[in-house]
């Protein structure tokens, strides 16, 4: 019997279903969510012949293991890692056939943080507001994978000819140093001139306290020029929000849609994929752009 589903054998530290997110509901308090490294998602989907926004699994640090109930085409991308099928080494960053009942093991990242597992047909969990993404801030979408979680797959309509031949390298290289282009504002006037200089000249490091909501940073605190409370206002992806402790937080996919701490600047969206792969301790530099 063909049962188009996979069973989670090993869930890993944090494995969630992600697509390209839930756009258009921020006014209801719904975060965009979606994969933290969207370029990696597009690529693994293309490798298995899926539409680029098909749902994939996003793993964190130590991968996961899956047992498909039917033969499937799989591609593992994002952070490089060893891939095994029933214990035998298999290729990373390209389409791999996994027989029904075999165990696909996505190993721990050798560099970077977040791996992406695409399967032909995509993970067909119930969409919520147009997306299958797990949103850890507001609890929308499926809960994070656990052992024995069964994830349904869609019909595999991918063109077999397209598989394995794509037009982009599978990995742009993990960041040894994160250089984040930041455009100051809208609340840079809430900070002292010295704080603004600090932001773009001093070194920060990726803190281990980060998550899908935000990249937390260790480094010099930013001093406010204005005190008191800012009325809640809308927040965007990449916003560099500064809580009362002065340490900037870069908002990622599951960020709250409104907030009351001032945003000193906004990081270019194109730079956020590398943020998703930056391990704790990675040096971070903000460079101002107009």
């Amino acid at each position: 019997m063909t049962d188009r589903a996979v069973v989670v054998v090993r869930a890993g530290a944090l494995t969630t279903v992600q697509d390209l997110g839930r756009v258009g509901y921020a006014h209801l308090g719904v975060p965009r969510s979606g994969a933290l490294d969207p370029a990696a998602v597009r690529l693994v989907n293309r490798l298995v012949g899926n539409p680029e926004n098909a749902a994939v699994l996003e793993t964190t640090v130590d991968g996961c293991a899956l047992r498909p109930r039917c033969a499937v085409t799989v591609a593992v991308g994002g952070a490089p890692c060893p891939v095994r099928v029933d214990g035998r080494p298999a290729a990373w960053g390209t389409a791999v056939r996994v027989p029904a009942g075999a165990v696909l093991d996505v190993g721990a990242a050798t560099r970077g943080l977040r791996g992406y597992v695409a399967i032909g047909g995509g993970f067909e969990v119930e969409p919520v507001l147009g997306s299958r993404s797990t949103d850890l801030l507001s609890g929308l979408g499926p809960p994070p994978a656990a052992e024995e979680t069964v994830l349904p797959l869609g019909p595999d309509t991918g063109a077999a000819a397209a598989r394995g031949s794509v037009d982009a390298p599978p990995w742009p290289g993990p960041p040894g140093e994160l250089v984040l282009r930041v455009r100051l504002g809208p609340r840079d006037d809430w900070f002292t001139a010295a704080a603004l200089r600090t932001l773009v000249t001093r070194a920060y490091r990726v803190s281990s306290a980060g998550n899908r909501i935000g990249l937390r940073l260790d480094g010099p605190a930013l001093e406010r020029a204005r005190h008191g409370e800012l009325a809640s206002e809308g927040m965007v992806l990449g916003a560099v929000q500064v809580p009362p402790d002065g340490r900037p937080v870069v908002f990622l996919a599951d960020h709250p849609t409104t907030g009351g701490y001032p945003v000193v600047g906004v990081v270019r969206e194109a730079d956020l994929g590398r943020v998703a792969q930056a391990v704790p301790g990675t040096p971070v530099r903000f460079t101002p752009v107009r």
Binding site: V23, G24, Y25, A26, H27, L28, G29, V30, V128, L129, S138, G139, L140, R183, G185, P186, A231, S232, E233, G234, M235, V236, G238, A239, P256, T257, T258, G259, V263, V266, V267, R268, E269
Partner: protein
Amino acid sequence: MSSAAPRALRVGERALLVELACGEATEAFHAELLRRRAAGALPGVREIVPAARTVLLDGVADPERLAAELSGWEVGPLPARVGGAIGIPVRYDGPDLAEVAALWGVSVEAAVRIHTAAEFRVAFCGFAPGFGYLTGLDERYGVPRRATPRTAVPAGSVALAGPYTGVYPRSSPGGWQLIGATDAVLWDTGREPAALLTPGTRVRFTVEGAAAGGGR
């Protein structure tokens, strides 16, 4: 309302934060943006997020140009109040009700009368899906957040903080003052829209079980 022109601040590459003079001007400007988007005048804009004194537009192709344009916009009045406010029946028995009444300097019964007499409007959403910030209480009834937030506020709690009333769509930590509870379903992804309280919605709170009088 058009005394102070809206001021647009750049937010990254593709967003604008438009600042307005007051809450009423913010609601009118938000309504104007929705009208213009419905008419196809804001192509590419994927999010319009109203807040207390601002409206965020995300997905703006040419923020510089839109920023220059919108300061000259003729902002229409708030949409006419057609139809009734939605009624939310409340059991006014929250753990902070007596404290709120004391802050207001009135009896508990009078506090409930004040809350049920006001007509509220959802100024904006945030904090959690379906959580609306409702304005409508007179300024003097503002209350501070609790000094120590509760780790779990039950779903359906009706609560106050600052000038706002809100209803917790699901159980979550929270620092607002709890004055009551409702069985109304605030958030249901199987419904369109999923949120009962969307920006602009008018709301009246009624005493659960009391004879309907002015709720609709």
